[in-house]
Symmetry: C2
């Protein structure tokens, strides 16, 4: 079974994919749009995508792609994020002057840079990619910040483990497939909807859940492309495909312009 991820090998996405689908072959894609396209055309069985981080917030591009593509969320998973300082073999910690990583990862290690004012943070397009870069170019005064897996994949050395500021740092991942089949025990639903730009429109939309005691676990807005200052809403509620949820969705259809069910899946335990 092949599972697509975005980013280089050794990334947090690869870590999540290996835990969600042990034994699967991981296919790394450069762009997220390509990950979704591979699922849609069936060249991979599924994809594992990050959707939100408890410190950095949502991976907004993935909300847009869930809406635009004919895919379905089948499972969610929460990964504890541990950042590691990784350098080429033989490089000493005292020699390091620059540390590369994705801006979100650099931002989650602010205390490390405060304690090491001689080390300059260098924004890079990818966490695992930063380790690949410093090792392939044999940089002697640089390191990357990435998952432990990246040290294994690119044969780097971990000089410091767990350098993130806040240990309560989790990323939520979705496993997406082309099939719209929900797994047994599916008790959580993700939807997208848009409301007319009139007073009370969002209030009416939320009433369809509140009136049925259906609990929303998250709601988020995203600007709509080509329609400045209008928004698409993304919400999760703690119900599977039962009668109250079906009634709520039908009711939501009456008071909104568009509703799309993005997935129905078992809620992650953690």
């Amino acid at each position: 079974m092949k599972i697509a991820i975005q980013g280089e090998g050794g990334s947090f996405s690869e870590d999540a994919a290996r835990q969600m689908a042990p034994g699967a072959k991981v296919v790394a894609c450069v762009r997220s749009a390509e990950v979704f396209a591979q699922v849609q055309r069936g060249s991979v069985a599924a994809a594992v995508i990050p959707i939100e981080n408890t410190l950095a917030g949502s991976v907004t591009e993935h909300f847009d792609l869930l809406l635009a593509n004919d895919v379905f969320i089948q499972r969610e998973f929460r990964l504890r994020i541990v950042h590691n300082l990784i350098a080429a073999p033989g490089v000493k910690r005292s020699e390091i002057r620059r540390v590369y990583s994705h801006p979100v990862a650099l931002d989650q290690c602010r205390d490390f840079f405060r304690r090491n004012p001689k080390i300059e943070p260098m924004p890079f397009y990818d966490t695992a990619g930063s380790v690949k870069h410093i090792i392939q170019n044999r940089l002697q005064d640089a390191a990357g910040i990435a998952a432990a897996q990246a040290a294994k994949v690119y044969q780097g050395r971990i000089l410091a483990a767990g350098i993130e500021d806040d240990k309560r740092n989790f990323t939520r991942f979705f496993l997406i497939r082309k099939s719209r089949r929900a797994l047994p025990g599916a008790n959580k639903t993700s939807i997208a909807f848009s409301v007319r730009n009139i007073p009370g429109a969002l209030f009416k939309a939320l009433s369809v859940f509140a009136l049925r005691d259906i609990s929303l676990s998250k709601i988020e807005s995203r600007p709509m492309r080509g329609r400045p200052w209008e928004y698409m809403f993304y919400a999760d509620y703690l119900r599977g495909d039962d009668e109250p949820a079906r009634n709520a969705l039908r009711h939501l259809g009456e008071v909104t312009d568009l509703v799309k069910v993005l997935g129905i899946y078992p809620a992650a335990k953690m």
Copy 2:
């Protein structure tokens, strides 16, 4: 009068600051936290910060900083974003193989990269900073993507203007001050609030506006630091400091854990 911005000179923030406060001296800061700190300690009169882009979405760090700091939004402004391809003088368009810019700007010029498959997009920490980089290092096969202002500041040449995919591309800026004084004609309010993690909590919070026919123009959620899977909400409503709005805020205080008024200001015309 001194106005702080985040990022290099020649940025969209500088453009917005010059239009919002003609004649002010612009103070460029590396980090957004420093921009807010300067306003708080009074070393600048005000700051101009981007808060959301109609294609890319919110500048989430600035929501966090508005909540954490003792500052007040006094004005909003909408800037039309025009991306320009800028290179060192003498460099021809046909020689360009790499184009540097902030990942958000690169992403807003996808069609340009599709039409020019030999040119590689290179993520950089800042739009104007990418122009500074290619010109200071006299790169002969590279360009940056930034505001026209950046070409002026770093003496680059604009090789192509308006290369963004979508012309309906606006960024909304706030002018923030330490003083909580609202300007005459202030008819829009930005607030932050958090709700208890119980069913219907957000619905109750929105009811305080719906019951008074107060129109929300935006609502957005952000994860709370150190409290995984809990959220802070940020909302704008189209009312100034009048009696219904004061009643709504008092009512909101009854049904939420925390309410903070981030600013009361005249709504931008455009």
